[in-house]
């Protein structure tokens, strides 16, 4: 039974698009980190062995031969929808969509199909999932023990680069991570900040949570509503405080329109819910340590 979107070493992983340059490079890193990658797909190269993995024409073909829990997609934007529907139809439980610039209507079709089939999607436009010391999937240095170290802090981030920096800061402060959940930078996501918060709240290996948010949308406000009911401490950093309104800041989701999705609104909602909101990423470990002081801090 998978704990997706919390990644476990026992999760059997299928890489869609395993033979491309990025698929090859990052699958190599995932294998180094101990991820249980069991197969890959490429519609044109079925039957070959790549990185020691069997390559199938489709997720359905892979499922006919083996059991798979999670599919991770290294496919270009126009091909994401069909690859995702293939994996969901085959019976996947969890789908990680790394691709950026997937058409919104394609993702809505994927979400609709996933909902009807009981599958969960993370992304699109996510950097991936890391459970330090166990496994990682995605396009981040999950295999680097200087950055990701086992521990009891759960981290949720829209951004891969900023999320990586936050984990580095935590590790250096002696606070290891139970799980990193990259939810993605798109405006509509398969797993929201609130849903990731719920998963980490239920996780017995997690004592406290860091939420790394961004301006735009209402996801942090929704997460705040749930955080108000939590016993575990939550600290947050929201990027985009000085971003000019009305301009998209790289991520499709990061835009402040007509006053909605503003830094001030998100910060106020989180603080009302008892979340400690910090001004700089570097302040996160100390803020968490203060909140965790009744507990024994993790030593790296």
């Amino acid at each position: 039974m998978t704990a997706f979107p919390i990644l476990r070493r026992s999760d059997r992983v299928l890489i869609q698009g395993v033979t491309g340059a990025q698929g090859t490079f990052w699958t190599g890193r995932m294998l180094e980190a101990g991820t249980n990658v069991v197969a890959g797909t490429n519609p044109k190269r079925a039957g070959v062995t790549h990185l020691g993995l069997p390559v199938f024409a489709s997720a359905s073909a892979a499922f006919a031969r083996m059991e798979v829990d999670i599919a991770v997609m290294f496919v270009p934007p126009p091909a994401v929808k069909d690859a995702a529907l293939d994996a969901i139809e085959a019976g996947i439980r969890g789908l990680v969509v790394l691709t950026e610039h997937v058409p919104v209507h394609d993702m809505l079709a994927v979400f609709s199909y996933a909902r009807a089939s009981g599958a969960r999607v993370v992304g699109a436009n996510t950097a991936g999932l890391v459970t330090p010391g166990e496994a990682f999937v995605g396009i981040m240095p999950g295999h680097n023990a200087n950055i990701f170290r086992p521990g009891r802090i759960g981290v949720i981030s829209r951004s891969g680069s900023l999320g990586t920096l936050v984990c580095l800061n935590l590790t250096r402060a002696g606070l290891g991570q139970s799980s990193f959940i990259g939810i993605g930078g798109d405006a509509i996501l398969g797993t929201t900040a609130e849903e990731a918060l719920q998963a980490l709240d239920r996780d017995s290996r997690t004592d406290a949570i860091v939420l790394v948010g961004e301006i735009g949308g209402a996801m942090e406000e929704d997460a705040a509503r749930y955080a108000a009911s939590m016993a575990k401490p939550v600290a947050a950093f929201i990027a985009g405080r000085v971003a000019p309104p009305g301009r998209r800041m790289g991520h499709a989701g990061a835009i402040v329109e007509a006053g909605a999705g503003s830094y001030a609104g998100k910060r106020a909602a989180l603080e009302r819910a008892g979340v400690t909101v910090v001004d700089t990423p570097h302040a996160i470990p100390a803020a968490l340590a203060r909140r965790l002081s009744p507990l024994v801090p993790e030593r790296a």
Binding site: S112, R115, S161, L165, I188, M219, V242
Partner: protein, 375 residues
């Protein structure tokens, strides 16, 4: 990407069987006067990709060709929320007996399309919402293939529109089909006007195309209005980079949208002002050289902070790009680095040998040093 009202009506609504007024695109006041001569009482509307035009004086009633000419002349000489209209739309004034609001958009919370209707059209949806509950009908579409006139009629129940329900339901069903066919993020008719014979006409239409789908919507993408860009921003767009000019003097180069916004935030936190937003995350990490050249092209620059945290982006590749740009342009401003993550060892030794300085361990310290150097 926004599509102008005129194109939304003629390219999207009318071909789908949703009636629109018989208007004309006028790029100069004389054309507007000529059109008004044929139409009689008319409306002159600024064609800009932004809402609230009426309040900014961008929608004028004209009772004669001279009034239409004067309205067009004024509108075409002005800027509305940063947009200069390239044309006005001149339409006949229609005698209406009712105004409705109709829209299809996506609901991030529900990960589904959302159809919205209100009998209180003519004002912004935020104002309708503020006016009280019960005036907006919302219908979430869980199965994307299932929203027809029957479902639309069901959502109109209790909205006080029974006398025109089939016709309104037909418009809503057509609007949803259109939304799907056109890769719309938003399609909104406000107001949908009811005429004396209980027929309907779309008086205004807002349409936003999903940028990511423009490859398969070439016709709509061609008439979509791009953001008004400065010279550097346009140059960046041609290189496939997202650059936003800001009014400060501390240049920012970072990878990933989240880290770049954070670096800007830190500049402000330490009392400085960022000069730009520019991120080279994702596939763009190989473009550090042209990206930095863009940042350095800003004459206001007094210092630069380079903040890399490599996940997908390799910091060694980005650092090499920085070095190449620096050698080529020989800028006279101080630069401050913080580098972590994928490729870190190589990147740090390259920076050490090329710049004779050590990257800051904390990005906050690198930003603080850059702010101090700029002040």
């Amino acid at each position: 990407m926004n599509v102008l009202e005129y194109h939304a009506k003629t390219e999207i609504l009318a071909p789908a069987g949703i009636p629109v007024p018989a208007g004309a695109w006028c790029e100069n006041p004389d054309t507007a006067a000529n059109v008004a001569r044929c139409l009689g009482q008319c409306v002159v509307k600024a064609q800009i990709p932004a809402g609230k035009r009426g309040r900014m004086g961008g929608v004028r009633m004209a009772g004669s060709p001279d009034e239409a000419r004067a309205a067009a002349e004024d509108i075409l000489s002005r800027t509305f929320a940063g947009h200069r209209p390239v044309a006005v739309l001149v339409e006949p004034r229609l005698p209406l007996i009712g105004e409705f609001y109709c829209a299809v958009l996506q609901s991030p919370r529900d990960r589904s399309p959302l159809v919205m209707f209100s009998p209180a059209g003519g004002m912004d949806i935020e104002e309708i919402a503020a006016a009280g509950s019960g005036t907006i009908a919302r219908h979430l579409i869980r199965d994307l293939d299932r929203f027809d006139a029957t479902a639309a009629a069901a959502m109109l129940e209790g909205m006080g529109v029974d006398h025109v329900k089939p016709a309104l339901a037909d418009v809503l069903a057509r609007l949803y089909r259109l939304w799907r066919q056109t890769d719309a993020e938003l399609i909104e008719i406000n107001p949908l006007a009811e005429l004396a014979d209980h027929s309907f006409v779309a008086l205004d239409c807002k349409f936003i195309l999903d940028d990511a789908a423009s490859f398969r919507q070439p016709t709509l993408a061609a008439c979509a209005v791009a953001d008004p860009l400065t010279g550097i921003e346009r140059h960046a767009a041609a290189l496939g980079l997202k650059y936003i000019a800001l009014d400060g003097n501390v240049g920012v180069l970072a990878n990933g949208a989240g880290l770049t916004m954070t670096t800007m935030d830190m500049v402000s936190h330490f009392g400085g002002r960022p000069a730009n937003f520019l991120e080279i995350g994702g596939d763009a990490y190989v473009k550090a050289e042209p990206a930095l050249a863009l940042v350095l092209g800003n004459p206001n620059l007094r210092s630069l902070v380079v903040n890399f945290c490599g996940a997908f982006a390799r910091t060694d590749v980005m650092a090499r790009g920085v070095v190449e740009a620096w050698r080529r342009l020989k800028p006279a401003i101080p630069v401050f680095f913080s580098v972590h993550g994928t490729g870190e060892d190589e990147a740090v030794s390259l920076i050490r040998s090329e710049f004779g300085k050590e990257p800051f361990d904390l990005m906050e310290d690198a930003v603080r040093a850059a702010v101090e150097a700029a002040s």
